[in-house]
């Protein structure tokens, strides 16, 4: 068999994006995509919909079997234990070794697990296997306690609400849920318009101190009886042991998704990138990658570079749109920060926050009322002047600010 030209370790969004991108540019090279979950690429972000039976298993898979055949992307299920970059070899758990010309590490992250006194089994929510574990237990379950009120915890809570779990509780260490996507004000909106009306118990500034039988004893002194407890308390990058690789919390990559090792690239949740304008020697100057869209972009950039087409990550404002609990959100640019002025509009079940710094739009957070979000994306950095609360209104003419009709324009 031909040598492996491109070896991609990790078949999540970053790995698949890289594989697709490479094949577009190299029709002949052998591409091998290794995953260790035993599943082909799937939409991690839709696992909650699978739990609530809105999606079948076939729908959660990201690509059809015919796709891999058409693009000649070989799939392998294995766990990579070690990478010896000088020899251009990866060592699998089962003792096999694979050689490569170009390597992409896209091994993602694992869910954090914090031991809790009295709790023997800790369920987390990251992989499809985790989702199966949770779903299996829902049949005879009326009460679910979610430790961690970030995006993932809220996503799970939304799925449980859809499925009809009678009682759901969220315990959040910080003062409000939904951070860093939401600030305190937006979190209060989410509480008032979704979580509270749905009867979700939310404990903030709190943690689970211990568990005894089916009762959680919180640090605050409150208790909550549960049938199932799930931790959704963040993720930590994971990657194979790779001597010589420069890492922080994640694998450090440059704007071309290169690591410090020759012909070794990295992309996705396993990486960290330098905050623009920061000193690379400072640990806090590096930020981990956590957003689906960033994983896709990094995979594509890595793929292009691996295939011999130099490029760098595009400098664009941040954009992320999805669902938080049951509210649809668009998070654009940097909507939260101490600088500048913030303006909020709320009406009915809609919420819009704009942040203007030195007369320019710095960021926007939209909840349900997402009209014009693409115009806002294009308007980041544009002058809006001193217009006050008007900028947060749904009918504010962002198209005029950008000079394009983004409601209709084809990008």
């Amino acid at each position: 068999m031909a040598e492996i030209t491109y070896l991609i370790v990790g078949n999540g969004m970053a790995g698949l994006s890289a594989a697709q991108t490479i094949r577009e540019r190299d029709r002949a090279g052998r591409i091998v995509l290794i995953g260790d979950e035993g599943e082909p690429y799937y939409y991690r972000a839709s696992l909650s919909d699978w739990i609530s039976d809105d999606l079948t298993s076939a729908m959660v898979l990201g690509r059809t079997p015919a796709f891999y055949d058409a693009l000649r992307i070989e799939q392998m299920t294995a766990h990579v234990a070690r990478i010896k970059s000088a020899a251009r070899r990866v060592h699998l758990d089962d003792g096999r070794t694979l050689s490569y010309d170009k390597l992409l590490i896209a091994t993602g992250a694992r869910a954090n697990v914090y031991p809790v006194a009295g709790l023997d089994e800790i369920l987390v929510f990251r992989t499809w296997a985790d989702a199966r574990d949770i779903k299996e237990r829902l049949g005879c379950c009326e009460r679910v306690l979610i430790v961690g009120g970030g995006i993932l915890g809220l996503e799970l809570a939304g799925a449980l609400h859809k499925v009809g779990i009678q009682r759901v509780a969220i315990v959040q260490r910080s003062g409000f849920v939904g951070g860093p996507l939401l600030d305190a004000d937006a979190a209060a909106w989410l509480m008032a318009h979704t979580l509270q009306p749905d009867g979700v118990d939310v404990f903030v500034n709190d943690t689970v101190a211990r568990v005894a039988a089916q009762t959680a004893y919180l640090k605050s002194g409150q208790t909550w009886d549960f049938d199932v407890l799930v931790q959704a308390v963040g993720i930590t990058p994971v990657f194979p042991e790779t001597p010589g690789l420069t890492v922080g919390r994640g694998i450090r990559i440059d704007a071309s998704c290169r690591t410090n090792l020759p012909d070794v690239y990295a992309a996705g949740d396993c990486t960290e990138t330098l905050v623009p304008g920061s000193d690379s020697a400072e640990d806090h100057a590096w930020q981990t990658t956590r957003i689906w869209l960033d994983c896709a972009k990094q995979g594509k950039v890595a793929g292009r570079n691996m295939a011999g087409e130099p490029c760098v990550l595009p400098a664009q404002p941040f954009y992320n749109a999805s669902v938080i609990y049951t509210a649809r959100y668009s998070y654009i640019g940097e909507p939260h920060g101490a600088e500048g002025e913030s303006y909020v509009w709320q009406q009915g079940n809609g919420y819009r926050k704009m942040r203007v710094v030195e007369g320019k739009l710095a960021g926007a957070l939209l909840l349900n009322a997402r009209h014009g979000d693409m115009a806002l994306f294009k308007a980041i950095g544009q002058l809006v002047g001193d217009l006050g609360d008007a900028v947060a209104q749904p009918d504010f003419p962002w198209n005029d600010v950008t000079g394009r009709d983004w409601d209709y324009e084809f990008f």
């Binding site: 729908m59 015919a66 796709f67 954009y319 749109a321 669902v323 209709y408 990008f411």
Partner: protein, 372 residues
Amino acid sequence: MEWDGREFEDSLKRGVEFGLDNCIGANDCMEACPVNRLHVNQNELDSVQVSGVWTERVQTFVTECVQCGDCTLACPAGVRRDLMMLYLKTQLPEIPAAWKKYYAVKGRRDRSWLISLLDIGIRISLGKLGEYVDKAHLEPKALLFYFGCYIASPSGSPAATLSLADRLGLDYEVLGGVRSCCGWPQYLSGQMGYGQQMLIHLATLIDQVQPEVIVSGCAECYAALLRLKKKTGASWTPLTTPEWLLRHADALTWRKFDYPIAIHDSCHVTKKIGKPAPARQLLARMTDVVEIAETPEDCVCCGYYNIHANHGLNAQLHADKLAVVADKGGAGMAVECVTCWESFHRPFEDAGVPLWELMVAAERATRPQEEV
């Protein structure tokens, strides 16, 4: 003016790339689609999109897509699934036979001799309106009515529009005929470069008129005007026919119809451009307006883009529309877009339910008493 003939296709590709990156696999798009009779999933579409290897299911579904935009409205992740479907339409392995016939002549300047022959026939059939078919010389005027291909529309919209303009004492020029096609039919059939050329040619025709306002009663032509304006930075203002007439409505005397009329929203104008209000405001001058959907964005498409691709599918859309109009208490239905009229008129006629194109309705409602 220099344009890259591939600009439209390139901009669609950017939309596709954005969509592929942002899609989180919720499949809400496919659940919302009113014509997904094969229950195609989003991952099937994206697999074809990236691999270029078509399946029969996806090919059928893409052919039958009516471009209503419900998929995009449903998406939680900001993906323009409608544009991704449009791009897939341009990549179909074969252009549907019915489309080939439909687009055989419109805007085909290489078949100019055929168009000239057709124009003779069209001019004769249209009577007075015929003078505006592919006029050799256009005069500078502040008001331009852009009818394009639909100058010969059986809806009667162009004649009604001009009657209203005459009634208001307005001076205007008219751009009509297949030579001024906006290019949309060409885009739909995958002839992206050709479609772009048609738009460029339209721009040169408009330049001859130097208008301040351009009015169109076709949602796709109106969308083309928007694109043209943004591309060229032109100073003229594009208006839908209701928007235009509302500016002059107080100068007319309105008589009410003696029955309530439902309003059908054009997907382009309501869902994609976001202007459901003008059509309603205009209809409200003539009758009690009946809403047939929870919101204007929920209004189900007329199926026009499925033209000839699947008669059964369109027949179902039409039957459902008749049923909902009756259910909501409408004794007739009004549309602001001539293509919606053309999609609905036969089934509505067969059912004995009045179907009004808004300009035709307005012309009747404002006709001087002595002419009634």
